[in-house]
């Protein structure tokens, strides 16, 4: 069994998702892609995912809907979720704890890795 951390990237923007996958693989992560929330939720049911990196606006099921579904699911309630958004100002109000962090696009690789590490480190603290 792999000891690498497993990351699920959920984004309908093909180029960005591909780029993030390559970058995270080079940083030692196992990466899976999904182009909308529904596909992501199916992937979540298939195996271990340590962290979800999701876009906000997507077809079929968006990032908020995915996060809401995960928080209601016993298996994924504690999985860290990082929201990626192109909007620079405040997101529409969300329930507390829905996301572990919010990253505004564009962001640097360092900021992404730092945010991921922080979220992965906090994983055990979540109730």
């Amino acid at each position: 069994m792999s000891t690498k951390r497993s990351i699920l990237i959920v984004d309908d923007e093909f180029g960005l998702a591909e780029m993030l996958r390559e970058m995270l693989r080079e940083s030692g992560y196992e990466v899976t892609l999904a182009i909308n929330g529904r596909l992501a939720f199916e992937i979540l049911g298939e195996g271990r995912v340590d962290l979800v990196l999701t876009d906000m606006m997507m077809p079929v099921m968006d990032g908020v809907e995915l996060a809401t579904a995960m928080r209601r699911d016993d298996q994924h309630r504690r999985t860290p979720i990082i929201m990626m958004t192109s909007l620079p100002t405040a997101l529409p109000p969300q329930p507390e704890g829905l996301f572990d962090a919010v990253l505004r696009k564009p962001f640097t690789p360092d900021l992404l890795l730092e945010t991921m590490n922080s979220c992965l480190g906090d994983r055990g603290k979540r109730n």
Binding site: D12, E13, F14, A17, I35, M57, P59, V60, S86, L87
Partner: protein, 500 residues
């Protein structure tokens, strides 16, 4: 029962000039192609329409099939006044469709679009990058089937659809054009060093669009479309026989008014034709000054001098009252950079100004400013004719200045076509060499259907105003710059300090 067919319901783009061209907006359930080369403004047009639609209570979904990321697009749109981030994601929603298209083809894209329309209760859908869908299609037939499915979706849901694509096509045939309700073509070209953008309606079912090219500009406000000004103005021959009756409008210069037998007729158009520096602007301002003195509303519309500088100069040479006229709301001075805008922008500014001020007197200073802003010089005749008709309809007494190309010439060329046909009066101003001095002269070349004094007078600009002198009495050949005296020189020939 009424035989009248009800007008189809439309969705305005909120881009005023565009809505005017397309008869109020896109049809509900209509499918439209917006095409043009990269950078022509397709994405801005579509986004602006989305945000305007959202502001009016609609819901828009924007599907991208291109490599440009949403964050990059937002970065460009953010400086535009229409971009309202608070409308995202509730009323304007962005999704990427390229991944679905790449993975599963056109069927997956249709499924994605159908889902987005239903989920977001979409009333306006944009698909940006139709070329990607076409390239993913194995045959033209498949692509047409895709378009047919989009049409069906639009019909079922009442959603209006904009499909954005590049215009380039090696075959020159656009099968998709036959299947949609309208095609808007955007262009971005250079005219000498000037960038010119246009929009043209190639097809518009169920509407009577204003055909031909219309000016388009991209500013921080977004896309601005200006329908060709001549399409907004009445066309046809100016009815010169029906000039408004009433007392003539004087210049307030006793000598000139006497030459004109009291002034110019109300509603008439007068050309001030002259070389650079011959006094055209000041004579025009004198005309406006006299109007203000009489309590009339006046407008200056020009290209060469900023209002403050013109007012200061008028003040300096004793042409008074205009600054006070501005303060009292009687006078309005409008200035445009000579090469600042497209012709239609200038025309619209002029028409808006005279419609809002409703002046009795108008001075258009430097008609060449219009010509320099013209994208196609052959339009000028129609533009001038339209402007002349509008001025006549509104009963505005108009002076306009235009430059002769030569400082000294035996022949005088009237450089403006179209407007000169609608011109009732022509005043010539120029420099002449006279006894080793450069003098300004004024002569009336034409007053339609009226008597006038045809003498050539020296025009002096002094600190106390404009004066007309009989310097050339008894001489001939003055206009050609070589006056020959047949009589002794009079008292007025004494030295007089002129002001430039």
């Amino acid at each position: 029962m009424s035989d009248q067919v009800p007008s189809p319901e439309r969705r305005p783009t909120g881009i005023e000039g565009l809505d005017r061209i397309i008869e109020g907006g896109f049809l509900v359930s209509g499918v439209y192609i917006v095409q043009g080369p990269p950078g022509a403004g397709k994405t801005i047009l579509a986004n602006q329409t989305c945000f305007n639609h959202a502001a009016a209570g609609g819901r828009a979904v924007y599907v991208t099939l291109l490599a440009e990321s949403h964050s990059r697009m937002f970065a460009h749109l953010r400086r535009m006044a229409f971009f309202d981030e608070s409308a995202i994601p509730d009323r304007v929603y962005y999704i990427g469709g390229y991944s679905a298209l790449e993975a599963e083809g056109l069927d997956a894209l249709v499924t994605l679009i159908r889902g987005a329309i239903q989920k977001h209760k979409t009333t306006l859908l944009v698909v940006d990058g139709l070329i990607s869908a076409q390239e993913s299609s194995p045959t033209d037939r498949e692509f047409k089937r895709f378009l047919h499915e989009i049409q069906t979706l639009a019909d079922l849901t009442g959603c209006t659809v904009l499909l954005l694509t590049n215009a380039e096509r090696a075959s020159g045939f656009f099968p998709e054009h036959t299947m949609v309700d309208g095609v808007l073509h955007l262009t971005d070209e250079l005219s000498e060093l000037r960038p010119l953008r246009h929009i043209r309606i190639l097809k518009l079912r169920g509407s009577a669009p204003v055909r031909g090219l219309h000016s388009l500009r991209i500013t921080d406000q977004g896309l601005e479309v200006r329908p060709r000004i001549e399409t907004r103005l009445p066309q046809g021959a100016v009815n010169q026989e029906e000039l408004a009756s009433g007392p003539k409008l004087p210049f307030g210069l006793a000598d000139l008014d006497e030459m004109l037998r009291g002034g110019v007729r109300p509603g008439s158009i007068t050309m001030l034709l002259g070389s650079s520096g011959s006094g055209k602007t000041l004579l025009g301002m004198q005309f406006l000054s006299e109007g203000v003195r009489r309590g009339e509303r006046v407008v200056y519309f020009g290209f060469y001098g900023r209002p403050a500088a013109i007012l200061a100069k008028c003040q300096r040479v004793g042409i008074g009252g205009l600054k006070e006229g501005v303060e009292r709301g009687l006078a309005r001075l409008v200035w445009h950079r000579p090469v600042e805008g497209v012709l239609d922008e200038l025309g619209e500014s002029l028409i808006q100004t005279i419609l809002s001020v409703r002046p009795q007197r108008l001075f258009l200073d430097g008609m060449e400013g219009f010509e320099r802003a013209a994208d196609f010089p052959e339009r000028m005749s129609h533009v001038y004719s339209g402007i002349a008709q509008e001025l006549e309809r509104l009963g505005i007494t108009t002076l306009y200045s235009t430059e002769t190309r030569e400082l000294f010439a035996r022949t005088i060329e009237v450089p403006i076509t179209g407007l000169s046909a609608a011109t009732q009066n022509i005043l010539l101003l120029r420099h002449v060499e006279h006894r080793a001095a450069m003098l300004r002269v004024l002569a009336i070349l034409k007053v339609r259907d009226d008597d006038y004094d045809a003498r050539m007078r020296e025009l002096r600009i002094t600190n106390d105003g404009i004066r007309l002198l009989d310097t050339f009495a008894g001489e001939s050949g003055v206009a050609a710059g070589g006056g020959v005296s047949s009589e002794p020189r009079g008292k007025e020939d004494e030295a007089y300090p002129g002001v430039d």
